[in-house]
Symmetry: C2
Subunit: 149 residues, 2 copies
DNA sequence: CCTGAAAGGCCTGCCGG
DNA sequence: CCGGCAGGCCTTTCAGG
C-alpha cells in the first residue's frame, strides 16, 4: 500500500485477523471513536483495500479433503490465451495464477476424491485445450495466514 | 462434509460469501429464527467447520504486489523433516503445503519487490537447509474463490 | 478528519415448546 | 432443536469543530 498510514494499517491488520470485530472494539484498539473507525473502514472498502469479508472454513469439514496444484500449458502456444476465461466457470478451481516459467498457469483446486480429480483433469484439458501437470497436496501445515500488512 | 445437512451447508455458504452477515439476515435467508441460526453457527464454529472470519484484502493495496510459489526440497533427504516448523516464523509465507512429487513442499509467498524475494530465498535456504525452485506469479485472474460447499 | 449523541437495529441469553 | 422475547450493546447517521 502506497498511501496507507499507520491507523489504516492497524485497522486492516485487526480485520484480517478477525473479520467480525465490531467498530466499537476496533475503536478501543486504535484509540479512535466508533464513527471515525467506521469512516476509515468504509474508505478502505471503497478504495478496494478491503475486498470483502469471508468465513474461513475447514476444507475437509465441507467434504473437499483433496487439494492439488495443477500447472497448465496450452497445446497450441500460438493460440490466443483465453484459458483463464474458459476455466472461470469450473467450481473446483479456487485460484488461478498466470505465472512465469515453463507453464502458463497454476491452478489450485479442491475435490472430494481422486476420482473427482481425474474427472476434473479431463474437463480442464477439454475445456481449455491444455496439457496439465498435477501436484497433489498431502498435508497443509498452514494456509491463508494473514499477510503481515 | 460428512454429517452436514442442507441448512448448515447453506449457512456456511452464505458466511463464506459474506463473513459479516448478521444472524438476523442469515435467518431470513434460511427461514430460521435468529436464535436457531446463532446456535447452528456456534456449533459450526466449535466443530471447526468454520475456523474464523477474515477481511480479504488486496495484496497490492497493502504493499505486497509480488506473489511467488516456491518449491522446496531438503539438501539432505535423510534428515528428519522439520522444514514446516523451521519456516513457520517467516511472515512472507502465506501458505505451506506438503506435496507429493519431486519436491517436498510448496510455499506461497508475498513480498514487495524482487529484491525482497531474493533475500527471502536466501533466508529460506539457510533456515531450512533446502534447495528452492521459484515460480513468479505474473497476474492472478482469480483467487480465494469460495469453495462450492 | 475527528468527536459525540441519538435512534434504530442487532446480539445474546433465557425460557417455553 | 426451534421460536420468542427483553435488555444491553452496536451500528449508522448527522451536526459541529
Amino acid at each position: 500500500m502506497s498511501a496507507m498510514e499507520e491507523l489504516d494499517r492497524q485497522i486492516v491488520d485487526l480485520l484480517v485477523r478477525d473479520g467480525r470485530m465490531s467498530y466499537t472494539d476496533l475503536g478501543k484498539a486504535t484509540g479512535l471513536s466508533t464513527s471515525a473507525v467506521h469512516q476509515r473502514v468504509r474508505r478502505l472498502e471503497q478504495r478496494g483495500v478491503i475486498r470483502g469479508y469471508a468465513a474461513v472454513v475447514d476444507p475437509e469439514a465441507v467434504g473437499l479433503p483433496l487439494t492439488a496444484f495443477i500447472s497448465v500449458k496450452p497445446f497450441d502456444p500460438s493460440a490466443p490465451d483465453d484459458i483463464a476465461d474458459r476455466l472461470s466457470g469450473v467450481p473446483e478451481i479456487e485460484a488461478c495464477h498466470s505465472v512465469a516459467g515453463d507453464e502458463n498457469y497454476i491452478l489450485k483446486v479442491r475435490v472430494a476424491t481422486p476420482l473427482e480429480l481425474e474427472d476434473l483433469l479431463g474437463r480442464l484439458r477439454a475445456l481449455a485445450h491444455v496439457a496439465t501437470r498435477t501436484t497433489v497436496v498431502l498435508s497443509t501445515p498452514y494456509e491463508a495466514r494473514p499477510p503481515r500488512v
